[in-house]
Amino acid sequence: MDRNALISELKTKISQTLNLQDLGEDALDENVKLFSDDGLGLDSVDALELVVMLETSYGISVGDKDEAKNTFSSIGTLADYIIANKK
């Protein structure tokens, strides 16, 4: 899967997992900061939801919550992480 297709897929998945549908797809730009207050302001439990999503959809297991939070700063970095780690 190329990066653009992955990003589009991630937008849909994240929107569903984190109940963000009402925000509209546009709010989920690949560069928007996921975990900081000037972005979406997601919290540690959201990070865990993303950990589960990574495991179920891409077979990547992230054991450490802190690692998750740093790696997933935006949809773009998340896509890069998936490309680098997917078996």
């Binding site: 963000l20 919290d43 540690s44 439990v45 589960v52 179920t56």
Partner: protein, 731 residues
């Protein structure tokens, strides 16, 4: 006359076996290695996790949790004259996070696999079931209530029991904490990545999470006078307790431990002790990254940077026993005072610079006078106790205060807000069964941004909607630290709990739902209210079937009288849930014409007269919660006695409210009792609210809107055998 709460007996069942002394031998020997691999149920994902499994108790009881609790209770009663507790001056206070949910999980598995429709094991999901067992066994006829605030549950029970004894409301209390292992806690903490890969290392630089454990603990508390009367030897005194909330995040503690520090300060002040007087701190110390840092930061705020008391966590011995962990700590504190020995923190080897201080790793002998202990629950729900050989207080200075209701918030399945609800009710053709029994979530919290509310479950949104209604119309004077939230609930967060469990079972633990788990705790509504309103006093979820609201009110009044808070949001909230409706219908005494469950919440801003600038609309005259007499005639006599004290001259009771429809036998009983009073025509609130365990929270707002000024009584019988008589004035 001394009303200092005194421990006169304890009982315990843990992974060390049955007995307080057995567990203490491990702790004060400092060398327990009792954690074993999880084998309670088939777990594809967590079979290699270490847990503390209780043993030595008699099996064959309806629930594992109940069996473990009975072992602890038997031990606590074995040293005393058990008959002494057969009294209306003895209450039961129990803390549990999940009660007998393991058996409910087994039922769900059967239902899913074999399409069995047997729902009887749903009763074990109800946290109030355990307390009821204890009360029946002991014969206690005073209040009987259950606190379910995740990991701090039994500490809240201890605190409420101490208030009741110190304020002279009870002579003695059976205080319990119990939690057994279950799929929901294993998978839930697993989904939060909080389970240790091995055995936990509290306060260690390399700590990596918790081991779950099961335990039940019982402390029998009494006034010193009652102890003397029944020839019981005092073991230790509870100098003070305090409960606070962080109002910081739904799961994470405040990083600098502000809420816990408030609790420590309150408890020391109420104990008339200074930090120097504290000889030891038995920590919550779960061995998660977040807790251990926040906990010691809190300690440092109170004790100063260089003179922390010696401290140790007991989690490596027993695992994190969740709702039982608070009472387990208290029992070990009592043992420590009695043995003049301080415990050691097993599992610690490497200092963590982020924490800055290290726990005690060797037990030592020496005089110990006062121990501080705490439990810090999910979402910053903090509770602590100062336990002393001899309290510095020679008498209690707690005085009853008049408690008023300043405002209300109401939501029914058919309308939001008191005005709208009563506009519907006053229509001539009002008929609840013709209306929807679920409210429209989209119409809740309209002014709250989607990003903020997207994770909140329906019942949480309902509770917050009502809290906003109640607080918008008043000028609050009580400070945020001195304002609590005490919410009654019969069934708690049922939708979220069963969504999590069904997913766990059907997906074979493959795809956890962390958000659903964090929302599944009974205190999710109270936490959300505190988080949004910044109310940082005691924060609790109280459950006692049909008298859950009254039990929450009882706790809030106790906390107001104790001086810990000046005001609190007090109410009741329950939601429609299909499984609960089916369960209700499957019960023998269900009458189809009585109606259905429905979404409902009603809450009040309650407090001392100076808690608000705004004038109150109601005043609490009397709240009496007791076990009712089986004979309607004798029960009517007892009710008449209480009513006659409040039903004189200008203050005649205008209307009596009740709840009928949940249980046909109970309905007949209520009619038989009230017929023998002057109130044979009670108003059945379920007509307006649906058949909810929280329906009785409707009484004050209903009186105010429907009838106006005057005195009212709400007589509620619970299917547990308890009843409450709540008398109030609309001003």
């Amino acid at each position: 006359m001394s009303r200092i709460p005194t421990a006169i007996s304890t009982g315990l069942c843990t992974c060390a076996g049955v007995g307080s002394a057995v567990a203490a031998d491990i702790v004060f020997g400092g060398n327990g290695d009792l954690l074993k691999k999880l084998d309670l149920f088939d777990s594809p994902r967590y079979a290699d996790k270490f847990v503390g499994r209780a043993f030595g108790y008699k099996r064959g009881f309806a629930t594992e949790c109940g069996a473990i609790l009975m072992a602890a209770l038997d031990e606590s009663l074995s040293r005393l004259d058990a008959k002494a507790f057969n009294s209306e001056r003895v209450g039961v206070f129990l803390g549990t996070s999940i009660g007998g949910i393991f058996e409910t999980e087994n039922m769900l598995i059967d239902n899913i696999n074999s399409k069995s429709q047997d729902l009887r094991a749903l009763t074990y999901y109800e946290c109030s079931t355990l307390a009821e067992l204890v009360a029946k066994k002991v014969g206690a006829r005073g209040v009987c209530m259950t606190f379910s605030t995740a990991c701090s549950s039994s500490s809240l029970a201890v605190s409420a029991a101490c208030d009741a004894i110190e304020q002279g409301k009870l002579d003695a209390a059976i205080v319990c904490g119990a939690d057994s292992l279950s799929r929901i806690t294993v998978n839930g903490f697993g989904s939060l990545l909080l389970l240790s890969a091995g055995k936990c290392k509290p306060f260690d630089a390399n700590r990596d999470g918790i081991n779950l454990g099961e335990a039940a603990g019982v402390i029998i508390l009494s006034s010193a006078d009652f102890a003397a009367k029944i020839n019981a030897q005092p073991l230790a005194e509870f100098s003070a307790c305090s409960c606070t909330a962080d109002a910081y995040h739904q799961t994470s503690p405040h990083p600098s431990g502000d809420g816990a520090a408030n609790a420590f300060e309150n408890a020391l002040r109420k104990s008339k002790l200074t930090p120097i007087d504290v000889d030891f701190y038995i920590a919550h110390g779960t061995a998660t990254r977040g807790n251990d840092i926040a906990e010691i930061a809190a300690l440092r705020q109170v004790f100063g940077a260089h003179k922390l008391p010696k401290f140790a966590s007991l989690k490596r011995y027993f695992g994190h026993t969740l709702g039982a962990s608070g009472i387990l700590n208290c029992i070990m504190a009592i043992e420590s005072l009695r043995r003049c020995k301080s415990p050691a923190n097993a599992g610690f080897t490497t200092k963590d610079d982020l924490i800055g201080d290290s726990p005690i790793i060797e037990t030592s002998v020496g005089n110990i006078e006062n121990i501080l202990t705490s439990s810090l629950g999910f979402g910053g729900n903090n509770s602590c106790a100062v336990i002393s050989k001899k309290s510095k207080k020679s008498f209690s200075d707690q005085k009853p205060r008049d408690v008023y209701l300043f405002s209300c918030g109401v939501l029914t399945s058919y309308a939001i807000g008191a005005k709208n609800v009563f506009a519907e009710i006053s229509k001539a053709d009002f008929n609840l069964s013709a209306l929807s029994n679920v409210c429209q979530t989209a119409s809740l919290l309209k002014n709250v941004p989607i990003l903020k509310k997207r994770k909140w479950a329906k019942l949480q949104q309902i509770g917050l909607q009502c809290a906003l209604e109640a607080t918008e119309v008043i000028d609050i004077k009580s400070s945020p630290e001195r304002t609590g939230v005490c919410m009654g609930t019969g069934l708690g967060m049922m939708t979220e709990t069963f969504r999590f469990l069904k997913n766990t079972i059907e997906r074979r633990e493959a795809e956890p739902l962390p958000t659903a788990f964090t929302n599944s705790v009974h205190n999710a509504v109270a936490s959300l209210i505190s988080l949004n309103k910044n109310f940082r006093g005691v924060n609790s979820a109280v459950t006692a079937k049909e008298i859950s609201f009254e039990s929450a009110l009882y706790q809030a009044i106790g906390a107001i009288d104790s001086g810990d808070i000046d005001a609190a949001i007090v109410g009741g909230a329950d939601e429609y849930f299909e499984l609960a409706q089916k369960y209700l219908e499957s019960r023998r005494n269900y009458k189809a014409s009585a109606g259905r469950l429905a979404d409902f919440c009603s809450l009040y801003f309650a407090g001392a007269i100076d808690a608000c600038i705004t004038k109150p609309f109601a005043k609490i005259v009397k709240l009496d919660i007791s076990r009712r007499d089986k004979s309607p005639t004798r029960e009517a006599f007892a009710i008449n006695q209480i009513l006659s004290l409040c039903n004189d001259g200008d203050n005649r009771i205008k209307t009596v409210f009740t709840i009928k429809g949940i249980n046909e036998n109970l309905d007949a009983y209520i009619d038989a009792v009230l017929e023998k009073t002057n109130f044979s025509d009670p108003l059945n609130m379920a007509t307006y609210t649906g058949l909810n365990y929280s329906a009785s929270a409707f009484a004050p707002v209903c009186a105010a809107y429907k009838f106006g000024k005057g005195r009212y009584a709400a007589y509620i019988c619970a299917s547990t055998g308890m009843r409450s008589l709540f008398i109030f004035d609309i001003l």
